[in-house]
Symmetry: C2
Subunit: 291 residues, 2 copies
């Protein structure tokens, strides 16, 4: 396929490279990042989009997505698909999709999980909103860039699934970390704590697959000095998107709200910036109640 790719940073770069390796023709545009090998550099976003079957965007936020959509959508050929893989607010995702559909294009919001490692290895998970025809058309590309693509529903459903998942994740990780710190102070050995919780009703991805305690459970960023992995500031971004969405639809999400506040404090006022989001455990270890 002929693909336009806008946004070739830490995530977009390796995703585009995997498309090239699979034999697709990729024209790329980025304000700053270098082109991966085999990606034809376009002078503008619109030029990258011209004649493409699918335009993929991987951008930092909803405002930039809207600006890029304004440039790219008029340049696209009728019947092509505008596929945004950024993690952005649900409203921006829906606005971009509506704009694309009004221009006779297919549209998908397809945020990913799996991070830079998953982007390089081609093992991302795509959570996809949009109509089935567009999903089926882009599915072979998702299969190249990732190992799983779930069609979640209509426009915005991909973003909704991602922020709901990550809101649960953020709250559960903090709960797991504070429980480890409490267990420490109660004299409960961490290996025993892991044995009990990972096989009982407290189990979760945070405990079982990404255990925040070094030397316990599977290999995780905790075993690598809490280098990300999934950075605390990216978790904060997703939690803020969840709270923005909750505000917009008048939903009550007290755990998500508290998780956002705790990650904001961790990243902005404490020393969480640049650390994995599981580094909440040493934070709770070091800190006293109400600290």
């Amino acid at each position: 396929m002929k693909i336009g790719f806008i946004g070739l940073g830490n995530m977009g770069g390796p995703m585009a490279a995997n498309l090239v390796k699979a034999g697709h023709a990729v024209a790329g545009f980025d304000l700053a990042a270098p082109m991966p090998e085999g990606v034809a550099k376009a002078a503008t976003a619109a030029e990258a989009a011209q004649g493409a079957d699918v335009v993929i965007t991987m951008l930092p936020n909803g405002a930039i997505l809207r600006a890029v959509a304004d440039q790219v959508i008029p340049a696209m050929a009728a019947g092509a698909v505008f596929c945004d893989c950024s993690t952005v607010d649900v409203e921006s995702a829906r606005a971009a999709a509506a704009q694309a559909q009004a221009a006779g294009l297919g549209a998908l919001d397809a945020p990913v999980s799996g991070g830079v490692g998953g982007a390089s290895a081609g093992t991302l998970t795509f959570m996809v909103g949009g109509d089935a025809t567009a999903f089926d058309k882009v599915k072979p590309l998702f299969d190249v860039m990732g190992q799983k693509a779930v069609h979640c529903g209509q426009a915005g459903a991909g973003q909704a699934a991602k922020i709901c998942n990550n809101m649960i994740l953020g709250a559960t990780m903090i709960a797991t970390c504070e429980a480890f710190a409490l267990a420490d102070k109660l004299g409960l050995d961490r290996a025993r704590m892991f044995d009990v919780v990972s096989t009982s009703s407290g189990y979760s991805w945070s405990m079982n697959a990404y255990c925040p305690a070094p030397g316990v459970g599977p290999q995780s960023p905790a075993d690598n000095g809490y280098r990300p992995g999934f950075a605390a500031e990216l978790m904060l971004k997703d939690l803020r998107l969840s709270q923005q969405a909750a505000e917009a639809v008048d939903a009550d999400t007290p755990m998500g709200e508290l998780a956002a506040a705790l990650y904001a404090r961790f990243v902005e006022d404490e020393d969480g910036k640049g650390k994995d989001f599981s580094a909440m455990l040493p934070r709770f270890e070091a800190r006293h109640r109400k600290g």
Copy 2:
């Protein structure tokens, strides 16, 4: 073995009945509950304990445990084991264990998970604190009353493991419920939400094994009108024990604190009493932000 069993209510009754079925001689005492078939009724707690190899207690709270320990421990034979299966505060568990050890007895704190259903079916999980000799002695009884017994460490470690697990569980369940309610309002289908989260980084026992959304995921109390299961007021009890322990050791547990506050409001001011703890989902469905 010769067993004294103090506290034969909803949990203790079926646990004692399973010991009788396995061929053990059980003398029971309860202020109110009837004796299960085959349990010899004692006139006092002390009488039930006399000559027993193991005394098992299943009581509502730490104050009652301390009162029963005062009566029972002086009546026990040297070398016997005092095994408390109640869920109580860590300090009361340690006080009872210290009192038993000072009297030349073995001592275990062995709270359970699995509820009344697990007690009847003999499928409880025991989280056990105390020395290895006492654990080994009582292990055959745990195997009759349950399917798993984890030795978590010294006195109090069983209670610590249970409250840490259930603190994670309470916070994760609320996060899962509020995320479902947010997903609804964002137009994300619940079956899709389950498909994504249960196989992604938001997975947990609350989502995967006990899904709070009716008709989605495995059979759970949600599919039975939110009849417990694990009642919201019992979750509240455990969350309060976790906060009592956190206060005692100066640990910071903000998610546990919020979960305790939300379950307190649900049980005491709203209509949560008598419902399963997963009935937080209809609560969030019905309620607007800041409600």
